[in-house]
Amino acid sequence: MRRIGIDVGGTNTDAVLIEEGKVVRAVKAPTSEDVTTGILDSLKSLGSTGVLAGKKIDGVMIGTTHFINAVVQRRSLTKVAALRLGMPASASLPPFCDWPEDLAALVRGGVWMVEGGHEYDGRLFMPLDEAAVTGAVQEMKAAGLRSVAISAIFSPLDPGHERRAAELVAAVIPDAVITCSSDLGRIGLLERENAGLLNAALADLARDTIAAFETAIADSGIAAPLFITQNDGTVAEAGQARRLPVYSFASGATNSMRGAAYLSGLADAMVIDVGGTTADVGQLKHGFPREANSVVKVGGVRTLFRMPDLLSIGLGGGSHVQLDPLKVGPVSVGYRLLKEGIAFGGRQLTTTDVAVASGVLNLGDRKKVAHLDAATCKKVFDEAARLAEEAIDRMKTEAGDVPLIAVGGGAFLIPEKLPGVSRVVHVEHGDCANAVGAAIAQVSGECDQIFKDLSRTDALAAAQGIANDRAVAAGAARASLTTIESEDMPLAYLPGNSVRVRVRVVGDVAAG
């Protein structure tokens, strides 16, 4: 198995080559405005020693923050036609009803609500009003809308109405890009619909970005399938990522945690990823980040995305250091470190300067920081360690000491011993953990739905089957599938034995 992992970050585009489980080479190149150039540069740099010559690459896996940045920065978004099937219910809370007004104004192309949807037990809530759907689509067409987000009541249980409506949309607008909320999973109409609307808003950007990735790979002369990494540490084939870009929102943090697991060989551990400005603390369970269970807001919009549960603190390699009284962070010089740090001729004392003064880092000009004595350096490191310790304790889920993996460019701030931590693991290539995480990503499938009048065993088995099929459809090899989450939840107030089952499986990418 030979794969290339790429992390397209705000500042750097990192690339790594992994061969038979070993990191062969890791490089960094500046991220470019057009994306393509930065990736091409990093791939060129990766291949400059001849490691790629004449070798078959099994996959290129790219992680990117492009999609989430577009939402947060309100740019490159497509106008969306929202079609909800569920009248007469929920009429007082139409699509976009809990969006920040500025984002809604950019994305809302029009809202149509017609009769349809199901009950929790699979009964029809209302028959689908096909004539009303077709009427709505005519209006969408007249308004020049091409990206359509369809949601229906209880569609995770029965996606039939959404699928039928999608056919009716395609019949009138043949080049429509359609997002069905049932493809985005979970129970919770508003949050699922929000995810669908965000997804539809990214339709053009996803098409262009993934085309840019494909161009870069083709131009680099590498013949390998392209995969995009997702929020949960797995990958999707380029075609699926183009269709469901919201699943790739938060892959950066996930990739660095997965990379940390891989580089350290630990499957259960705390991870701290120390960057220039912030440090993210999370927890690995069975090699995957523990997920946030609750509502996740993206750019001010409530969703139920599968996102890692992270705690971010203002501690990094660029953090401002104030000596009297002692204060480290949360302000940072960020990417301006090489200009503003004292060791680099600037005027702002940073954690990196302290590391240079104490000989931990060999960067810049050590003479410029010679005024920092050993006792002062120790005080600063102790304060950084205290901040890290507090964050780690808040994220731990068990009382005993656990191992901690420290990755990222600022990992030098994490000492070899910390209270509550059994041992601190620093790893080679830890500064490219993101790209490593991308390179080793697997494919997942999930099922989250309500089963009625089945025994617990049968319900779990049914959910397992659905999750397996979805993983295989997403590109996994069936023989490699393993279950990493299996959770059942009896439902209050519902008659019969209603149980909500959530199962997630992962597997290796099937060989092309």
């Binding site: 569920g86 007469p88 219910a89 929920s90 009429a91 007082s92 809370l93 009803c97 809990d98 949807g117 009950e119 929790y120 009964r123 809530f125 209302m126 009541i153 209880f154 129970i187 919770g188 109409l189 508003l190 523990r290 269970n293 609750s294 808040r394 889920t397 068990e398 009382a399 309500i450 939840m489 009896p490 439902l491 209050a492 107030y493 519902l494 008659p495 034995n497 209603s498 149980v499 909500r500």
Partner: protein, 359 residues
């Protein structure tokens, strides 16, 4: 007579405070809040009226949404449906309600009367019948007072409307209305038996909307100022901290249409080394510290996120969460022998003598 304007800020605080008083259940008030934001945007306004200002022969409509919280996440609550349940009751019993009150201040039902009030242009009465959330219809102050349980109207947004005209007991009302609710798809907007002003004054639990707003305002203020939200709650309510810890295990099972189970915690800070377990039936019912019962219904047991101060529900609590458990004083009506028969530990199947945290 003094009517107080309820501002949108008050309703934002009500949503947070009512969730705390939900004692783990009652459903999230978020969708009710969204409805109120939309109504206020349209220019609708709601006023709050003290039950002390009711005439003895006034009539009051008590409302609640009934059903599975999960269904409510798909069939989103619509302010017009609860208004229709009230209007149907008025048509049926041929009275005009002076005001509208909540059956249950804990959770999403705290906002239902505001939605009906906005459409019907009536004040909200600042009283409810639980002072918190409870899972069953007979667990109310009016049931403790042996007031008439009927009639009751149930409305579904598709034009399904029923009146339960007569039942002999509150338990029968629970059974019959639950059946209707299930047929509707396990969600229904209901208007309970009309109450006279005299009945509300005697049997209502008073000032609870104001109380929920005050709790929510304290939490939100503390969040804004990065202060301790738990301390903020205790500055407006005479509560007690029972425990701080991490969730180590959640065990749930559905029986007879209820979510039952237990959550276990490991102590943190001053409670390091002490183990807590809290049993629930939709709501938190009995808390045990190192095997001894330390708090139980009708005392309010509130499990709060230690950082945000917001309530943590029995349906969503999960392994690893950092929580603070506090107790708030119960409505006095539940402390009588009759009150404890309805909502004391034995009413939930625990053979223990009620002992209040506040005794």
């Amino acid at each position: 007579m003094a009517l107080r304007d309820i501002t949108l800020e008050d309703i934002e605080s009500l949503a947070v405070g009512a969730w705390v008083l939900g004692t783990g259940g009652g459903g999230s008030p978020y969708l009710g809040l969204l409805n109120m934001r939309a109504l206020y945007k349209e220019g609708d306004r709601v006023q709050l009226m003290s039950s002390a200002d009711l005439a003895d022969d006034d009539w009051v409509g008590a409302v609640s949404n009934m059903g599975a919280p999960l269904v409510g996440q798909e069939r989103l609550t619509d302010s017009r449906t609860i208004a229709r349940a009230v209007a149907l009751m008025e048509e049926h019993v041929r009275v005009r309600f002076r005001g509208i009150m909540s059956l249950e201040i804990g959770g999403g039902n705290s906002i239902q009367p505001l939605m009906a009030a906005a459409h019907l242009k009536r004040p909200v009465i600042d009283s409810d019948m639980m002072g918190r959330a409870y899972p069953e219809a007979q667990m109310t102050s009016v049931a403790v007072g042996d007031l008439k349980p009927c009639p009751l109207t149930t409305v579904d947004v598709r034009g399904l409307e029923s009146v339960v005209e007569s039942v002999p007991t509150w338990k029968w009302m629970e059974r019959v209305s639950r059946k209707i609710c299930v047929e509707y798809g396990s969600i229904a907007s209901t208007c309970k038996a009309p109450r006279t002003g005299a009945e509300v004054k005697k049997w209502g639990i008073h000032g609870t909307t104001t109380k929920a707003i005050a709790i929510g305002a304290a939490v939100r203020e503390a969040q804004r100022k990065h202060e301790d939200p738990i301390a903020a709650i205790l500055s407006v309510e005479p509560g007690k901290v029972l425990y701080r810890g991490k969730v180590t295990d959640v065990e749930r099972r559905a029986t007879e249409g209820f979510l039952r189970g237990r959550t276990r915690f490991d102590g943190m800070d001053a409670f390091r080394g002490a183990a807590m377990e809290i049993n629930f039936q939709n709501e938190w019912i009995v808390a045990w510290l190192d095997g001894k019962p330390v708090a139980m219904s009708p005392d309010l047991i509130c499990v709060l996120d230690s950082i945000s101060g917001e309530a943590v529900g029995t349906e969503t609590i999960r392994y690893g969460q950092r929580v603070t458990v506090i107790a708030l004083p119960p409505p006095p009506v539940f402390l009588s022998a009759k009150g404890l028969q309805h909502v004391g530990p034995r009413a939930f199947g625990y053979d223990i003598e009620f002992k209040s945290v506040f005794a």
